[in-house]
């Protein structure tokens, strides 16, 4: 087997080394494009005191929401967490800490983490509670705040197709935060619907180059729909 071959055969192998107190970055927007089975494996492993970075925290009983049931998450960094009664209860109890980050800032902080940019300035959040404690600076007469990069011990990613070198493409809007967390993980684990041989994907159409990917696993997905809206 080549060292470039990122395939692992079990979810246990996929998250080997994940421990208490670590930071986990998760792809997905709402329930779209979430690494369902990797989340389930985090639950199975019963690791605790996790810091989880994800745009949302799933819903009761699905997505990252399942990690709340056994109180595995200590801190959540997210932009929107409003769909989850258990989340609300743990937050009000003080069992759970939340750092709210504007969605675009969250995306950029992850990209920055992956790209070796420790910090950047953005106008987003200036003059709001998000700016508290952050440096404010003027550029060309406009106000900006300094935001820091995010990096995780593990990144968990849901792709569509990948070759076994870990080159990944995403399907439709299931792309969302997935390529960004893939860049920012010390160990990046990708689960996909299909694994093909290197050479089968067009090189200039790859969303996540294999250099960012450490482990790759083939999964089966429920893909639950959060808001089913149909044309009248």
């Amino acid at each position: 087997m080549s060292g470039l071959d990122k395939r692992v055969s079990t979810y246990e192998q996929a998250l080997e080394g994940l421990g208490d107190g670590m930071t986990v970055l998760s792809g997905g927007f709402g329930l779209c494009g979430i690494p369902e089975n990797l989340i389930a494996e985090i639950r199975r492993r019963q690791v605790r005191d996790l810091t989880v970075v994800s745009n949302n925290c799933g819903i009761d009983g699905f997505g990252l929401g399942v990690l709340l049931e056994d109180r595995q998450i200590r801190k959540m960094i997210a932009s929107y967490v409003g769909e989850n009664a258990l989340f609300e209860r743990q937050l009000l109890n003080g069992e759970l800490e939340v750092e709210l980050t504007p969605q675009g800032t969250l995306a950029e902080r992850l990209r920055a983490g992956g790209a070796g940019i420790p910090a950047f300035y953005t106008a987003t959040g200036y003059g709001t509670p998000v700016a508290e404690g952050k440096e404010v600076r003027d550029f060309n007469g406009k106000h900006y705040i300094l935001e820091r990069a995010l990096i995780g011990d593990f990144a968990i990613v849901k792709g569509w197709k990948a070759d076994y070198f870990g080159n990944v493409i995403y399907r439709h809007t299931a792309q969302n935060f997935n390529p960004l967390v893939a860049m920012a993980g010390r160990i990046t684990v990708v689960e996909v619907e299909e694994i093909v041989a290197p050479g089968e994907l067009e090189p200039s159409q790859i969303h996540t180059p294999g250099i960012y990917v450490n482990r790759l696993i083939l999964g089966h997905f429920e893909k639950r729909i959060e808001k089913r809206t149909l044309r009248a």
């Binding site: 709210l100 992850l110 003059g127 960004l180």
Partner: protein, 218 residues
């Protein structure tokens, strides 16, 4: 008569120009898409990573991997593009979106907007709203002019934690269309049958009333 939700959407839709890239927030702003004027084509940006949002899907097209920023299943129109969240907010933060329409709790005479957090109530998060208001040059806020208890939402200074500072210039309420200039709301149009006096009474922030304030027509 106060404007209906549909009329509010319809009025805002008149601000669309052919070729605009537009981000429509959740709620009434979403309805704007139903009133795009004849002969005008716009591309709708959904901040989860879709430019060129189409209609809701037919049953056969339903796809868990194709949603909008409201997490509703949607379709992509011909000529759409799909990308990651960093690229999506590069567009937004970089000022490439021509028009942003979103709701708010409060707006004030300095162009401040509060739309995401009511202290004492559960904080759900700002999502993309802070990026949208900070990045756009051209924003229209849609909201009711006053709360149910009659309290004005057009204030001298927002009382709630801000979503963005000094970034709003245009507000459409159920009573009026106003612009914010030099520390005041300027009354530009009123809803059909709504008197200037009612608008004055329900506007807490400094309000400039020009000699002639046309009524909107629908």
């Amino acid at each position: 008569m106060t404007l209906s939700r549909e009329q509010m959407a319809q009025r805002v839709a008149r601000e669309l120009q052919d070729g605009y890239y537009v981000n429509l927030g959740i709620g009434i702003p979403t309805l704007v898409a139903n009133y795009v004027p004849e002969g005008i084509d716009v591309m709708l940006q959904s901040e989860n990573g879709l430019l060129g949002m189409g209609e809701f899907p037919a049953e056969a097209e339903l796809d868990a991997d194709m949603i909008n920023a409201g997490k509703q299943t949607v379709t992509a129109r011909p000529g759409a593009s799909i990308f990651d969240s960093a690229e999506s907010f590069a567009m937004i933060r970089g000022g490439h979106v021509d028009l942003t329409v979103l709701g708010a709790f409060e707006v004030d005479v300095e162009g401040n907007i509060a739309s995401w957090m009511i202290p004492g109530k559960l904080i759900k998060g700002m999502g993309g709203a802070m990026d949208l208001v900070a990045g756009a040059e051209n924003i229209i806020v849609i909201m009711t002019h006053a709360a149910k208890d009659g309290a004005s939402k057009l204030l001298p200074r927002c009382s709630l934690p801000l979503t963005g500072a000094g970034c709003i210039r245009r507000v459409l309420t159920d009573l009026a269309y106003l612009e914010i200039e030099n520390g005041a709301f300027v009354l530009k149009e009123r809803a059909p049958g709504v008197s200037v006096e009612e608008i004055v009474a329900k506007t807490a922030g400094k309000l400039i009333v020009p000699e002639h304030v046309p009524e909107m027509t629908f």
